[in-house]
Amino acid sequence: MTTADDNPDLADDPFDAWYAPSIDRGTLRALMRRTNRQGLLHVGIWLLLCIATGYVVALTRHTLWVWPAMLLYGGVLCFAYAASHECAHGTAFKTRWLNETIFWFTSLVFIEEPLYRRYSHAGHHTHTWFNELDPQKPYGNPMTLTHYLSGTFGLTFYFDAVRQLIRHSRGRFTPQELEFLPPSEIRTAIINSRLMSACYAALLLGGIAFQSPWPFILYFIPRFLGGCIVTLYINTQHMCMAEDLYDHRQTTRSIKCGWLGRLLYWNMNYHIEHHLYPAVPFHALPELNRSIGDQLPPPLNGVVAANADILKAISRQRTEPRFNLSRAN
C-alpha cells in the first residue's frame, strides 16, 4: 500500500515536542528562500562601518580619545558574531562558497572555530536552554550580579574563547563537546583551531617584532573592549528566561531594535522567531514576525530595557531563586 502524505507530519518527529505556532506551510517555505543580496549588503555595510570607525582609531591613536574610539570600533567589529551565526546556519547566502568564506572570516574575527561552532550551535537548537544539555548555555537561574558583569564585560567570554581554541588546537575536547562533535569531524576542528591560532600568533608576534601598534589597536584591544557591546545583545536572547521547557516563547526573548541594531545584529532581535524556524534566513525574520507575531509574547522595548529587566530579575533571584522572566510569570 502506497500513500502520498505531503501534508501530515511524521507521527514521531522528535522535534514535535516543541511548541509551534500556526503558520501556512506555503508561507513558511516562501520565507525560507535564500538570496545573496541581503547577506552581501549586510557584510558590505558592516565592513564600511569597520573601516570608518577604524579610521577614527587611527586618527586618535596618539591621544586618550583612542580608548573610546577603540570601544566604538570594537563594538562594530564584534558584530562579526551576527554574520558568523547566520553563516553557521548556512542561511546567510544562497551561494554556498560565499557563505563558507564569510563564515570563516567572521569566525576568525570573533574567535570561534567555525566547525565546532556549527555543531555546538546545532546542539543549542536541539536543546535550547535545557540545563546540562544545551552546549551554549553558559549560565542559569539563579544568576548573580558577578555572573552578569563578568559575562557581559568581556573578561569571561574573551578568555574562555582563547582557552577553548588552544585546547582544541592541542586535540583536547571535553566529554560534553564530544557528545555533539562526531569523531569524523574532530581532525578538521583541530586543523581549523591550529590555523586560527597561527593567524592570531602571527598578528601578535608581528606586532611585537616590528614594534607596530596596529595589531593591538585595530584587533586585540578593540576585540576585547567591544565584546561587551555585542554581549549586551546576546544577553537578551535567553538570560533569566525559563529553563528546561519545550517552548521557545518562555525560554527565549525577542526585542525591538532600531535600524542600526537590526542591521549589525542581522535581525537576531527576532530571537523567538529564529528559534522556532531556524531555516528562515535573517532577512525574512521581520516578515515571519508579521505572520506569527500575534502568537508570541510582545517584544521588549530594546536592548537597554531588556538588560535592565535582566538586572531586576537578578536582584529578585537573590530571594526567589526560581524566579524567571518568562511571560508565564
Partner: protein
Amino acid sequence: MSEWISVPDGENMLEGTMLGISALGRRLIIYKTRSGYFATDRRCTHQAADLMRGYFDEDIIECPVHQGRFNVCTGAALSAPASAPLKTYPVRTEDGKVFVEV
C-alpha cells in the same frame, strides 16, 4: 526483497517540489529536480528531523532544524551537522507514471 511502488500523483509534480510518501512501512520523499526524479529517506541522519519541513533548492535538501544539507541525487551529506549520508532509492518513470523501488 525490494518492490517497485507507484508514486501517487508523481506525474503531476512540478520541478523543484517534493512529495512525502509512505510505502511498505517506509517514509520517503520523492523530489523532482531539473535532472529528473529522486527519492530519499524522510528523516535527517543527524537527529531524525522531518526533511519534508526542510528547504529544497536545486538538488539539495536542507534539514529544517539544524540546516544539515544532503544531495538528493546521491544522498551525500554536504555540510555539518549532517555527516552520515541519506539513504536513496531508485526511481523510474514509465508512461508518465513515477515508480520508486523500496
